[in-house]
Symmetry: C3
Subunit: 126 residues, 3 copies
């Protein structure tokens, strides 16, 4: 916890995914909501198969889904989604002839049944 | 909003994903539940790593997950999932020797923390 | 139902995904919670684009998301996530110099709007 999933249409061709994920993680660290930066697990997937609406127009989207343990207030969730949306806006500027939608969703993870283990890397003695 | 994610096992080899997504989007537009066709953001992913059950039988699945802003009635959700399932059934007919499961799930997006921005494509003057 | 999604960072290079999914499915069958082994639909995706935290350390994760029809008790969900986590731990042992997080999440599928059809493979007469 937290988990962040970024899904985007693969016509956002020059998107620097590594930089985007790092900026999103920095925004989450900066929120002060998460005790350890290590806990933030983000990933991104580009979709070659996608369709926005039904009109024959060139369209794109990027959607960030943040999953956090249940219990945070609506106000905190709003702040989290707003700060992630700012990062998306900066990373994905307007383009000629391409209609883009950027969205952020915040989900609760059921706290009672969430299970996790941390497996630190050992030091190899050679 | 809405977001649609189709996940399917990649042994559904001749599935026409682009056509499937367009038909699913048409079904969503036809439901009358969404003000603007532009809002429907659908994507599909084929999974090479999958396993249905534990028996050594050739099996497949396709699963559509529709995420909509919270507040719609159970009856509306049932109608949405039924109409999407009809599209899946038409797109993925029975096959010789392949056991197929088709499913549709409807999820609520927390309305209070959903954030979105629309970035229209600008016109390039050359 | 149930659906299982395994997401993992692709620096877990020698992970045997097919074996992992089979073991996870066996754990679900062994839980006694699901009437038919056929119903368990599991898939896995490796993410090339991922970022754990913000520190420049080699890190990895694997996350299993189990979606089951609503109505099961918190205790049953806890048992399910614990048994899946055991499988992840066995499949992904500690590695030299790689910090790994393994997590399991259990989600409810809204029972009222879940739609499904089973399309058995027919026998081809030649």
């Amino acid at each position: 916890m937290p988990h962040l999933n970024v899904e985007y249409s693969d016509n956002l061709r020059d998107l620097d995914v590594d930089r985007l994920l790092l900026c999103l993680n920095h925004a989450l660290v900066g929120s002060g909501q998460f005790a350890d930066e290590l806990d933030i697990k983000s990933r991104a997937a580009a979709f070659a198969g996608f369709r926005v609406g039904i009109a024959p127009t060139e369209r794109a989207f990027a959607h960030a889904r943040l999953s956090i343990l249940s219990g945070r207030s609506p106000e905190v969730k709003r702040q989290l989604s707003a700060s992630l949306l700012e990062v998306l806006k900066e990373a994905i500027p307007a383009r000629a002839g391409l209609d883009i939608q950027l969205c952020v969703e915040v989900l609760d993870i059921d706290r009672g049944s969430y299970a996790k283990v941390h497996v630190p890397g050992y030091v190899q003695v050679t």
